[in-house]
Subunit: 254 residues, 2 copies
């Protein structure tokens, strides 16, 4: 199995190194990742400046690696279309240093990289550790990554293209199990913090405090709170087909 590994924390992040080394057990791993942190890039792609691609020597034993001055989606796109000799059988994005849960996934570079794999018709998995930055425990995400990949590969039969997986930030012994979930709800308060620069001019930082929201039992947010690994199958067809039916009654004459 040819596996393309990417992330949005940049090629030098701990998470991608752990993931790449672990996935060597089940496949041939190629790392193609941004040259720096590119989180919250959503599904951005680079059109207005050219991409530079650097081969990374000695990234890790038996792993070919490149870094790119682009977004996670750029990495997957150019990796599949130009860099890899054979089309990968699987794209894995992560291990992200922080959660990618609920409504937040729409902003996620990690998840967008997996969606880009899906657009290329390749089964793709985003993997994140749902804990606080700076005090993350990657053990479970690392330990179970091959198991999750094998599970999805075994049952999926390429039917669904993108899976979003979050791990609790705890040791493997404390993991309660795996839950199939739906994306929950995440909301923030006071999102922008205004500060003054030395010249007295305002600038604004996106910050925001996560609000406590009662999420459904079936949600990824609840699964993580209860020490379960969450697997959410994603799609990327934004058409609201249900609503199209309701629009049949609209008078559309011009």
């Amino acid at each position: 199995m040819n596996i393309l590994v990417t992330n949005d924390d940049g090629i030098n992040a701990i998470g991608i190194r752990k993931l790449a080394n672990e996935l060597k057990r089940i496949g041939s791993v190629t790392v193609i990742a941004p040259d720096r942190e590119r989180s919250a890039t959503g599904h951005a792609i680079t059109m207005h400046h050219p991409l530079r691609i650097n081969k990374v020597d000695n990234y890790a034993n038996g792993i070919e690696a490149w870094n790119i001055n682009g977004t996670p989606s750029d990495c997957v796109k150019i990796g599949i279309e130009s860099l890899m000799k054979a089309k990968p059988d699987l794209v894995v994005s992560g291990i992200n240093n922080g959660p990618n849960l609920g409504t937040d996934v729409i902003y996620s570079g990690t998840v967008s990289a997996a969606i880009e794999g899906g657009i290329h018709n390749i089964p793709s998995i985003a993997i994140s550790v749902a804990g606080k930055k700076g005090e993350l425990n990657y053990e479970s995400a690392t330990y179970y990554s091959c198991k999750i990949v094998n599970l999805i590969t075994k049952y999926n039969n390429e039917q669904n293209k993108v899976f979003n997986v979050n791990f609790p930030s705890i040791s493997p012994d404390n993991i309660k199990g795996i839950r199939v979930t739906e994306l929950g709800i995440r909301r923030y308060s006071n999102q922008y913090e205004e500060r003054k620069d030395p010249m007295g001019k305002s600038y604004y930082w996106l910050s925001g405090k996560l609000l406590e929201i009662q999420n459904k039992n079936e949600s990824d947010v609840t699964a993580i709170e209860n020490n379960y690994i969450s697997i959410t199958p994603l799609h990327f067809d934004l058409t609201n087909y249900q609503f199209i039916k309701k629009m049949q009654n609209w008078e559309l004459d011009i």
Copy 2:
């Protein structure tokens, strides 16, 4: 009606000026847009540098305007949360200089701005002219923008949050009508072009030729080809609920 107008081509683009001036006929217009072109930014938001907000004096008669050194999603987010006195009743993003059709919408800053409005529970509309850059005819998009907004406002009753509207790049006389559509398929060949810099080192431009693909009659792509205005209702819940049912058979023991 309070209308927040944004785009991804930047505040100085022709399209947003035409749109803002036209929408004054039906509401109070506030323009909050990127200070430069930010197309293909997908749903990126700015977390790693602070945002600067500049009030634009004399943008247009009766229109308050700000530019921001951020993405379209940033503009909508900070516009709603910090800049506008009252929460807008509607977000309109555009008029984009080029199509936002089919699978491409996932990369679109214009559409992402509308989705950000939807995330804030505000009905939102993305408007684009589906023609070649440099030879775009904004007449229909401008002339019909109020009609489309009124149509959606009248029938929608806030049920669906995001609509993606594309106009053919032709004069209003030649418009055949309005079609409710689904997102079609857009594919490209030879996406990356390799060039050498003066030092002999490679760099890569995203280019790619649009492939001719037979799209369904119901698609936005086909509607535009036949000189119809396309309206596609969008959602932004990426959970694949259908597939969750199939996953009930998966053995998830760890």
